[in-house]
């Protein structure tokens, strides 16, 4: 029972992997750019979870520090991404990623 209740590093990793997969599937399948951005946040948080889990496992703070960096980075990325998104919406009147197909030969 005790062993069952004990939350090991493996649990964190499994949760992280699940989150990561959800994010990847979201990025690949959803057509709404806002949802895609949110899925990217999921991926980043899965990574954060891994970093924190390994930090706890090794008893060191490096991983947690790095996780904070990633959060900062995610905030910046969300700001830039939403900015692009607004510019895009003003031009195309849509937020569908399939409409953004100019970057080709």
């Amino acid at each position: 029972m005790d062993a069952m209740l004990h939350i090991s590093t493996l649990h964190y990793l499994v949760l992280g992997a699940a989150l990561f997969l959800l994010g990847v599937i979201g990025v690949l399948t959803r057509r709404n750019v806002v949802v895609v951005l949110m899925s990217i946040e999921l991926i980043l948080n899965a990574v954060n979870l891994n970093l924190v889990a390994f930090s706890r496992y090794w008893g060191e703070l490096h991983g947690q520090v790095f996780a904070i960096f990633v959060i900062t980075d995610a905030a910046a990325e969300a700001a830039v991404g939403l900015g692009i998104l607004i510019a895009f919406f003003r031009n195309k009147e849509t937020v569908n990623v399939d409409e953004v197909n100019l970057l080709k030969w």
Partner: protein, 711 residues
């Protein structure tokens, strides 16, 4: 030697004035224009006086005794390194072609320098008054200054090429100034005529120059003279004869000799100061200067000398006879100029170079004075030039009358005025040269002197005496000219009175300083000619004639008599001329009409050369040569030009085709097309859909992970 070393400044001063006029003249005040242009000539004259004074000092030192002063600024054509060489007439020796911008001062150019700047200065001052009410004031003075620049270049040049530059420059200015009133068709026609007729002469001069370059290997006067003196060329050398004859053709054009004199009378369309400066005193003597400058060559070609003498004498009597009946005051003077130029060539032709130059010198004063006086008369008469409508002016414009009277006495050869000494010297030299073979020419010259006196006093009596024949309105306006015009008249009158004393002959107890001054230039030629004459006499079995002073006195008396008789005849015929007066020559209508129509020479030229005039239905027109050359020009020459153009266009088309299809097509676009084709399959993978890329990336990543995990 401040002045001598900076002799190049003399032509540069008027060039500066002309440049200023052409660039800024339109905006300048008349007073500024006069100050700059006349000032430039005044300074040039003072500078020239200084240069000649220093030259005479320099040339009297033992080491430079009688040498010409020469200074070369830079090599203008060709190089002095000997790169530009050509083969001379003998087929063996070569010479480097070289033409300098260099200046030569010797007694001959000194004389020209002094009277050109001196008379030019007076005429510039005169023009300030004469042109005061005319439009194009700055243009006029700009042209005058440009003319002075060209003329001074011509005089001071040390080689034939630079002389030719000045020669063409004065021709250009002559053209511009004859056509100064360009809105008048007759003026622009006259300008064209002067230019075209001068071209004929210039062609001869150019060919002569080529001959000199080919035969002597140098175009410098000093080199040519030295070679001609060296004795390696025989007297009567055919090439030298041809050369000198060609040079003389050039002189005929510029100095208005038969058969190229026709432009000078028409040149009177220009403003009167121009007639005085260019078409009487200075430019038309350029031909005489050139022949005198080439005296060493002419002496080697007796045939050319004879031609010069005969052409000169014929021109003298021909033009004088036309002058007898002309009614336009300036035309009489124009024919008089042609006639006097004939005298000068007669002198050169008989070998009396210094006498010819002396006549140029004195003629410059009295003929400039006559023209300026005529200008003053025209000014007073509100533009009237026809002597039939003048008369009784001597009381209204006394200064003009008295100064012109002095000039008339001078040109008629009345002692002691300037013309007497120079003309008498020419006639005396004609009589004595080559043992009297030219005595026929003396008779021609003598009758010319008679005619000269007659037509000049006819001009004086018709204009200044007799009954007034002008309209009342014109008569009311008659006034003496302003001081800026009468001043130069007085100065020139003084010169006409005293200039002759420089050549006071030995027989009258003088020392003929003028001939002595020119001795360094002509002494050697005089000696050669004397020997030739003596040889000819011996060959003809004659005794050597003694030139006694009594003969000279007798001839002198005869020529004075000619002047007085001509004066008397004119006095008798025109003293009381009233409206409808009768010309004495009109008693013989054919003669009178022939003379009045100038022997129909212009008409003849129009018939023979230009083809503007038909006789009956036939049009001769240069024996078809004009049409033939026009046809040749428009078909052959232009055809060649067009052919060259066509070939250029063809090659351009081919090369543009090559460039467009081969260079651009195969060379540049080819690799691009290839790359495009090869890239086609790769492009299939580029959809532009970001999620597809993400999917591929994820799949790739997954692939790598599986590979490394399960490997």
């Amino acid at each position: 030697m401040l002045f001598l070393d900076h002799i190049w400044l003399i032509p540069l001063l008027p060039a500066f004035g002309a440049t200023l006029m052409f660039l800024f003249g339109r905006k300048l005040q008349k007073a500024t224009v006069s100050a700059v242009c006349a000032g430039a000539i005044v300074v040039a004259f003072l500078f020239a006086c200084g240069a000649v004074w220093q030259y005479t000092n320099w040339a009297s030192t033992p080491e430079n005794f009688h040498r010409p002063y020469q200074t070369v600024l830079y090599t203008w054509l060709g190089t002095d390194t000997g790169h530009l060489t050509y083969v001379l007439h003998d087929g063996k020796s070569t010479a480097a072609f070289q033409a300098d911008v260099g200046f030569l001062l010797d007694p001959l150019s000194s004389i020209w320098l002094l009277f050109v700047t001196g008379v030019g200065m007076l005429i510039h001052i005169y023009s300030i008054g004469y042109m005061a009410h005319e439009g194009g004031y700055y243009r006029f003075f700009g042209y005058l200054n440009l003319f002075m620049f060209s003329m001074l270049t011509l005089i001071l040049a040390n080689n034939y090429v630079l002389l030719f530059v000045g020669w063409e420059g004065v021709g250009l200015c002559s053209y511009l100034l004859i056509g100064f009133y360009f809105h008048r068709k007759s003026a622009s026609d006259a300008a064209n005529k002067a230019f075209i007729v001068n071209r004929i002469g210039d062609a001869g001069f150019l060919l002569g120059m080529f001959f000199i370059a080919w035969y002597f290997g140098s175009l410098r006067f000093t080199d040519v003279t030295r070679l001609a003196h060296s004795g390696q060329f025989a007297i009567g050398d055919p090439i030298i004869t041809a050369t000198t004859l060609l040079l003389f053709v050039g002189a005929c054009g510029k100095s208005a000799q038969l058969p190229l004199y026709i432009w000078l009378p028409d040149a009177m369309e220009g403003p009167t100061p121009v007639s005085a400066l260019i078409h009487a005193a200075t430019m038309v003597t350029a031909g005489i200067y050139m022949v005198a400058r080439s005296n060493a060559l002419f002496v080697l070609a007796p045939t050319s000398m004879k031609t010069v003498a005969i052409v000169g004498a014929l021109t003298a009597i021909f033009a004088a006879s036309i002058g007898l009946v002309q009614n336009d005051i300036k035309r009489v003077l124009a024919y008089s100029t042609v006639s006097q130029l004939g005298y000068m060539f007669l002198a050169l032709g008989v070998g009396a170079f210094s006498a010819g130059v002396f006549h140029v010198f004195t003629h410059a004063f009295f003929k400039a004075l006559l023209f300026l006086g005529a200008g003053s008369v025209i000014h007073a008469m509100s533009g009237e030039q026809d002597m039939r409508n003048m008369g009784d002016l001597h009381r209204r414009i006394p200064v003009t009358h008295w100064t012109m009277f002095i000039a008339t006495l001078a040109i008629a050869g009345i002692p002691p005025f300037a013309g007497f000494f120079s003309k008498d010297e020419i006639l005396w030299q004609t009589w004595t040269s080559e043992g009297g073979a030219y005595r026929l020419l003396w008779i021609v010259g003598y009758f010319t002197a008679l005619m000269t006196a007659f037509y000049m006093f006819r001009l004086m009596y018709l204009s200044f005496h007799g009954r007034p024949r002008m309209s009342h309105e014109v008569e009311h306006h008659i006034h003496e000219s302003p001081t800026s015009m009468t001043g130069p008249l007085v100065v020139l009158a003084v010169c006409s009175l005293f200039a002759g004393f420089l050549g006071w002959p030995h027989s009258l107890g003088g020392s003929d300083r003028f001939a002595k001054f020119l001795e360094p230039v002509f002494a050697r030629e005089a000696q050669v000619l004397t020997e030739q004459g003596r040889a000819a006499q011996v060959a003809a079995g004659e005794k050597e004639t003694e030139h006694t002073t009594s003969t000279e006195y007798f001839l002198m008396f005869l020529s004075v008599a000619a002047g007085v008789v001509g004066w008397g005849m004119a006095w008798k015929a025109y003293r009381h001329a009233d409206r409808g007066y009768v010309e004495p020559i009109a008693a013989a209508p054919p003669v009178y009409n022939t003379l009045l129509n100038k022997y129909y020479v212009d008409e003849g030229y129009d018939y023979v050369f230009t083809g503007r005039r038909k006789i009956g239905d036939t049009r001769l027109g240069v024996l078809g040569l004009g049409e033939a050359s026009a046809w040749f020009d428009s078909n052959i020459v232009d055809g060649l030009v067009n052919g060259a153009g066509w070939i250029t266009r063809l090659t351009a088309t081919i090369s543009s085709w090559w460039d467009k299809w081969v260079i651009d097509g195969v060379g540049v676009n080819g690799p691009a097309i290839l790359a495009r084709m090869l890239s086609y399959p790769a492009r299939l993978f580029e959809w532009g859909l970001v999620q597809w890329y993400a999917l591929v990336m994820t799949a790739g990543l997954a692939g790598f992970v599986f590979y490394y995990v399960y490997h």
